[in-house]
């Protein structure tokens, strides 16, 4: 948990109002142009927001701002976030000198930290790998270990930067289920970056698209119960989001040369 | 550091007979320590002594300044430099060799293949010269005796650390360098077959002193302790002269780690000591050296007599009675 190093502004009136409140956020790495250009965003407590956007559109920049990790970056704006923020970085960022379990329980001050760590690892399918070094894990395993580390500490706000990018379909579904289960129990606000539109729709209460440094598109997912691609609402939303991202609704639409296929 | 100081004593006042109880004298004079221990005379000593294994000019001076010892044992040059660099010291004991010509402390090492038979041949030669050390003063004294000036020879400035001089000779980097007796032995043993030689320096270099910072002598208790110590020291020097084999074994072999042969050689080479009970001649010879240094190294002129605390001359004389000349 972030410690009370600074002035602690408690606004009882804000309570349950918004977990995250971002107003007119600007961030730029150089004079050439801003990455975030007056972004406004509000996330309600317990709300699950998926963040889509082109590669290089500023998704990670936004997440780092919310996590308070961009001290050196120029910009203005107002950011309000809860105290307990947990981050899943785009790189898995496991400490190479700590074994997996130690990585997961790092900074966890509960008495049963070890036990909870083991359980979290089991949940992400890494039971038995507690004593492995990070470099002994496959890419997807590392990503899952990082996810376990985040989930084990019950944050009020979970910032996850493509946490499932390196996972196969089955493992990914298992992780979805796990994440959803944990969200139901602890009700954190979640901001999850993903490139998979289906994943966004399946998981989130709201999907937003970042473009030009602002939230270009903000769609509430209004599907109750089982969310299936077959559902027409799902399909419409999917198509709409893909359009927003510049793609027509087919995974691949470029013409394919017959010559090549025959070779 | 020094314990609480005793009563203040003028440098001209008579020396008290007994130090207060608990006075500790810190002495940097390992050879005498060994002699006293070996002869057993140390049991007769009435003062508490804390021995430090420190000898030689720079180290004793450092220790004086750090107030780590009260009295040190050196040749006649270090007290001069102590004086010239602002540490007020007094010589409290003096020693000579019985036959200085036959038992010089230093000889002039000559590099293999270099033709130097006498000090007159030094003209035009490269001579190792360590300005701040006794060896440096010796070189100047030798030049004076040979009737040469610094311009007649090539002085190669280098410090006589360890065996640097004999190495420089062996490597023919210098033609001539003063070597202490221990180095003479090893130098000749190693390089005589290549034509290395040594020649006598022709100047007296046997002066040996005990000296102490003035501040110590102004402490009545310390001064009294030193009075006792110099008496014991004088007897110890004579004991050394009388028991060369025992001293060779105890000091050079056991303490300094020389082989028995080398130890015997060094003791023989250094010859018998005598402790003068009248310092007039000793001081006069010292003045000659001082004058040479003043002339050749542009030091401040000095009446060397002022560096001697002759109250101890009497104390030594009294202690030795008729034993010495």
């Amino acid at each position: 948990m972030a410690s009370h190093a600074g002035q602690l502004n408690t606004h009882p009136s804000d309570r349950r109002d918004a977990a995250v409140k971002v107003t007119d956020l600007h961030r730029s790495f150089n004079e050439a142009g801003g990455v975030l250009n007056g972004l406004d965003l509000e996330i309600a407590p317990g709300e699950f927001v998926a963040l889509l956007g082109r590669s290089g559109s500023g998704k990670s920049t936004l997440l780092r701002s919310l996590a308070g990790l961009d001290r050196g970056v120029a910009g203005t704006g107002r950011i309000e976030v809860p105290e307990k923020v947990s981050v899943v970085f785009q790189d898995s960022r496991l400490l190479p000198w700590k074994r997996i379990l130690d990585n997961v329980v790092l900074g966890l001050r509960a008495g049963d930290a070890e036990e909870r760590g083991r359980q979290a690892l089991a949940e992400v399918g890494l039971a038995g790998r507690e004593k492995a070094w990070p470099h002994e894990l496959s890419g997807g395993e590392q990503q899952r270990a990082a996810l376990a580390r985040s989930l084990v500490r019950d944050p009020e706000l979970l910032l996850a930067d493509e946490p499932f990018g390196a996972l196969d379909a089955l493992t990914r579904i298992r992780m979805h289920t796990l994440l959803r289960k944990l969200c139901e129990v602890h009700e954190p606000a979640v901001l999850l970056v993903t490139h998979d539109v289906d994943e966004a729709i399946v998981l989130a209460d709201r999907v937003i698209v970042l473009d030009g440094g602002v939230v270009r598109h903000d769609a509430r997912v209004e599907i109750d119960g089982r969310r299936s691609q077959a559902d027409p609402v799902f399909a419409r939303l999917r198509s709409q989001l893909l359009n927003e991202l510049g793609v027509e609704d087919d995974h691949d639409s470029a013409p394919r040369h017959v010559a090549r296929a025959a070779s | 550091g020094g314990d609480e100081a005793g009563p203040k004593l003028e440098l001209t006042a008579a020396l008290p007979d007994k130090p207060a109880d608990g006075t500790v004298l810190r002495v940097g004079d390992p050879a005498t320590q060994v002699a006293l221990e070996t002869s057993g005379a140390i049991d007769d000593l009435d003062v508490d002594i804390e021995w430090a294994n420190i000898t030689g000019g720079p180290k004793t001076l450092e220790a004086f300044r750090a107030d780590a010892i009260d009295i040190g044992s050196v040749a006649d040059i270090p007290p001069l430099f102590a004086h010239w660099t602002g540490t007020d010291v007094r010589i409290v004991a003096a020693r000579e060799t019985v036959d200085p010509a036959a038992h010089p402390t230093y000889e002039l090492g000559v590099a293999p293949g270099v033709d130097v038979k006498s000090i007159e041949d030094l003209k035009g030669k490269k001579i190792a010269y360590s300005p701040g050390q006794a060896q440096g003063a010796l070189v100047l004294n030798v030049l004076r005796e040979a009737g040469l000036t610094q311009d007649d020879v090539e002085l190669v400035e280098m410090q006589s650390v360890d065996d640097a001089f004999s190495v420089a000779l062996a490597g023919k980097q210098v033609d001539v360098a003063p070597l202490g007796q221990t180095l003479v032995k090893t130098y000749l043993a190693k390089y005589e077959r290549d034509g290395a030689t040594t020649i006598p320096s022709g100047v007296r270099d046997d002066a040996w002193t005990l000296y102490a910072p003035t501040s110590v002598l102004e402490d009545a208790d310390k001064a009294a302790a030193i009075k006792e110590y110099v008496a014991a020291w004088a007897k110890a020097q004579l004991w050394i002269s009388d028991h060369p084999d025992e001293f060779a074994k105890a000091y050079y072999e056991d303490h300094e780690g020389l082989t028995p042969e080398d130890a015997t050689y060094v003791v023989d080479a250094l010859g018998k000591f005598t402790v003068p009970t009248n310092w007039d001649e000793f001081i006069a010879r010292h003045q000659v050296t001082v004058d040479t240094l003043v002339k050749e190294q542009q030091q401040e002129p000095l009446e060397v007599e002022t560096l001697y605390d002759r109250r101890f001359e009497k104390a030594i004389a009294a202690a030795l009675g008729g034993e010495s000349s």
Partner: protein
């Protein structure tokens, strides 16, 4: 809701505000400009106060004003400048030679196990042996002239360069070597593009030590057959017990050392600007 919103950077203009979540900073934070000078200034102040109040005995550590006066005398009669020039040239030549030798040995030993087999052991032996004890051998082999002095300095210098570069090189991440192998680079390109930049942090740290080593070695080599030089000046003064001259020498050493170190660290900052570390 409990928000943790302390102002991180004040508004640039009255309209724009900049409120960021404040997290306890665990790294050291922004460098303080000329920070290390402050420590030296404190040291200097302690010296001045100590001397003025008599806490520091003038005979053991001359007072700053005495040192300045002595320094002025030394400058007037030209000894200080002369010493600086002589020593400077010696140190620079020795440093240059030592750096080249250390670097080459480190590359050979770092990149081939056979090279390591032959080089690493002897270097460890060399560095376990006091330089002073090697002087007689060096005198015999190289004489007492300038070559001896420069080679001795180089010998002192090459050790930290070798050790640090070798270590830096060996601790380059293995995955970069893998990458280079799949790119099919030649050994020369591998050294130029992967090994040298990867070992650069180590090398530069070694250089910081090498620079001071070259200065410190002056005290050892200028004992022999030197008529000027900072080391010679200090040795001579300590034989005579001239505390004030010694301290002038030490002040010069401190100045040279701190300046050289600052220069190397500046190079470090420039050359390693690609790094994202706790310090940046």
């Amino acid at each position: 809701m409990t928000t943790l919103t302390a102002p991180y950077r004040r508004a640039i203009s009255s309209e724009t505000e900049d409120v960021r979540p404040l997290r306890r900073r665990l790294g050291p934070g922004k460098p303080i400009r000329f920070g290390s000078l402050i420590g030296i200034a404190v040291l200097l102040l302690a010296w001045i106060v100590g001397s003025a109040t008599g806490l520091l005995d003038e005979r053991n550590l001359s007072a700053p004003w005495t040192v300045i006066a002595t320094g002025e005398t030394l400058i007037e009669n030209g000894r200080l400048q002369e010493s600086l020039v002589t020593s400077g040239i010696r140190a620079a030549l020795g440093l240059g030679l030592g750096v080249v030798v250390g670097l080459v040995l480190a590359l050979v030993s770092g990149l081939s196990r056979i090279g390591e087999t032959l080089i690493d052991g002897p270097v460890q032996v060399k560095r376990s042996i006091p330089t002073l004890a090697l002087i007689p051998l060096l005198l015999l082999w190289f004489g007492i002239g300038e070559p001896f002095k420069i080679l001795t300095i180089a010998l002192a210098v090459f050790v930290p360069i070798y050790i640090h570069t070798h270590n830096g090189l060996r601790t380059i991440e293995g995955r970069y070597a893998e990458l280079a192998e799949t790119l099919g680079v030649t050994r020369g390109e591998f050294i130029r593009h992967v090994v040298l930049p990867g070992a650069m942090p180590g090398f530069l740290l070694g250089l910081r030590f090498a620079v001071t080593s070259s200065l410190l070695a002056l005290v050892v080599v200028e004992v022999i057959n030197a008529t000027s030089g900072i080391g010679h000046m200090i040795t001579l003064a300590s034989n005579y017990g001239q505390t004030d001259v010694i301290v002038v020498g030490l002040v010069v050493y401190a100045l040279l050392g701190v300046t050289a170190d600052a220069v190397v660290r500046l190079i470090e900052r420039k050359a390693l600007s690609w790094r994202r570390t706790l310090a940046s």
